[in-house]
Symmetry: D2
Subunit: 195 residues, 4 copies
């Protein structure tokens, strides 16, 4: 990786993290599995090319707080997700996951409509058994399912239903972590007002 890319990536992650850690309302959207914010290098191939928060983002003293620092290779799940999405749309470089529940899903769908964003859904109960068991096969299936459910387009926001052993989560993707952090925090603030 080029030093200037590393610098630009760390800089955007630092600014994005400041946005997230300053958004009290986001605490309510941090799932049990916590959340991560990931940022892929322009030519990312493996998770080592993806910057992510070491130890993820959790809630401390009622506020979102990163457990460790941004670090290349610190994420597995979200890093593989963004790499898989980039095979279809390489302009996507960042993503973040957050909590879901049936009420948020409904609200989120309407919110996406109002923004002109493509919203999609992955029903993990439909995941074939042979794919669940084959090492590394789940992620391509999931991304394909999200795109298929959106009529072949890459969604801006999608949610995964829970499955046995799996918490339901939402994912928002975008071109850089600052934009993603701002969008997720706007969702957190608006959803909090509605409640």
């Amino acid at each position: 990786m080029k030093l200037e890319d590393i610098v630009e990536m760390h800089g955007k992650m630092a600014v994005a993290l400041e946005i997230i850690e300053g958004c009290k309302e986001f605490s309510a959207l941090i799932p049990e599995v916590r959340t991560n914010l990931v940022y892929a290098s322009p030519d990312a191939v493996t998770r080592k090319d993806v910057l992510a928060i070491d130890g993820r983002i959790t809630v401390v003293d009622g506020m979102p707080r990163s457990a460790g620092r941004p670090k290349f290779g610190a994420s597995s799940h979200m890093a593989r997700l963004i790499i898989e999405i980039r095979k279809v749309d390489p302009s996507i470089r960042a993503g973040m996951d957050f909590a879901n529940d049936p009420r948020l899903t409904k609200w989120l769908e309407d919110y996406c409509k109002s923004k002109g964003w493509i919203f999609s859904m992955i029903d993990r109960r439909n995941e074939p058994e042979d794919i669940k068991e084959a090492e590394g096969a789940s992620m391509p299936w999931k991304v394909k399912a999200a795109i298929d459910a959106a009529g072949g387009r890459v969604p801006k926001v999608f949610y995964e239903t829970g499955a046995v052993g799996k918490e339901p989560v939402s994912v928002l993707i975008g071109r850089d972590p600052i934009v993603v952090a701002e969008q997720v925090c706007e969702i957190a603030r608006l959803y909090n007002e509605k409640r």
Copy 2:
């Protein structure tokens, strides 16, 4: 709460946390939902009487790391679990949860046998729908299920199967967090050697 109890509780949590944060092998047993270590006051009635790690324990730089400090009221799930168990056996004041998978379950069952510990299991798929939906009804059901499955005795270790939206976890309980931390870390080291 009396100051001497608060001091004794914070002291034991600090020593226990040092044990956990120094046990590299435990990183492999931290579930997606992270782990918490809880310690109930002698007369604990609500979660506010239970000391727990704010933000739970996660993995940073490959090592277990508490996100925040020990704080009364910082845990919901594990705090309610220990309070429920104490209705049956008040000598139990501390507990910790950790990851589970089918291979660990089998090994853990044998390990408990070798230690003379009661091991139990909660199959969350058996949880009645009306209990799942009633606020606060799940925990009493779970604790009762764990004790029933152990022939009416409070188990030392039990595991909960995954359910839709729920990650499977193991729980080890004991009289204080130092003992609990030492026992969980011994499990982590021995299980790591077997692999």
Copy 3:
């Protein structure tokens, strides 16, 4: 050291740290060299027997914040100070240093009078050159100077003037870190009001 002493010491340090980190006014009394809070074991002989904050206490986001955790052996200067004082009065087990300036010194002297506390002063410019240069000779000289200046009694509070290369600081000592933290924070709050 006995486990029960270690537990009691860690417990008192945790409670004391919570008091300090919650006292915004104390930020203004943290010197350039930062502050430390130390707690000697009942039979402390070397700095390894003294619990102290690893990395000391500094100011982050405008609030006092411990850089690391309480750890035996983490302090050199303050640990040796408390060990030296304990040769004269073994009931003293804890101490904390904080900033000084001429205005605070005057106020502090009056405050000590109002509390009935012995206040003393060490003029480091009087330290003989041979003592400055002999390894380990400074601390006994300083403690003797503080006691001599108080007419042979161990002072509750004393300040050290600055010297070449040395920032002036105040020190408050007591039997345990909770008491010391409460007294230092009261000083910080009252002094802040006067300004």
Copy 4:
């Protein structure tokens, strides 16, 4: 400030901090007053335009560790120093201070010679009393003294002798914090070998 400058500055500080926190030998060069790494924006006028480590860099577990995060306005002393230097040479945007003692000073002078770097010295005992007492007059005096002592050129490295109440420190300056961090860490490693 433009977002792209903020991003670039945060990115370079993150990379520089990783270098420093990974350099064990630098722990031995952290002074009692701790160290700070500062980075001025291209048009910095006040300390609010200077990114610095909130709470400075201290030693935790034997390694250099930033107390807080990089933050605009977090430094006073080092920020004003870099702003003053930039009045003479605006290409300088970053700087870092570290411990000094007579042996290091001698070694450092030779090291600078070998690198072709200008080395200078500020004898704070020469600071006129009226300047010491006038608010904000010390820093211009110090920077002028360092440049004068180097024959009118801006030095790469300079040290300040101690004075009453002031610890002696060294300062290294450069165009960006990554370069500064690398140079200071090389000094720390080479000086450590010599001992």
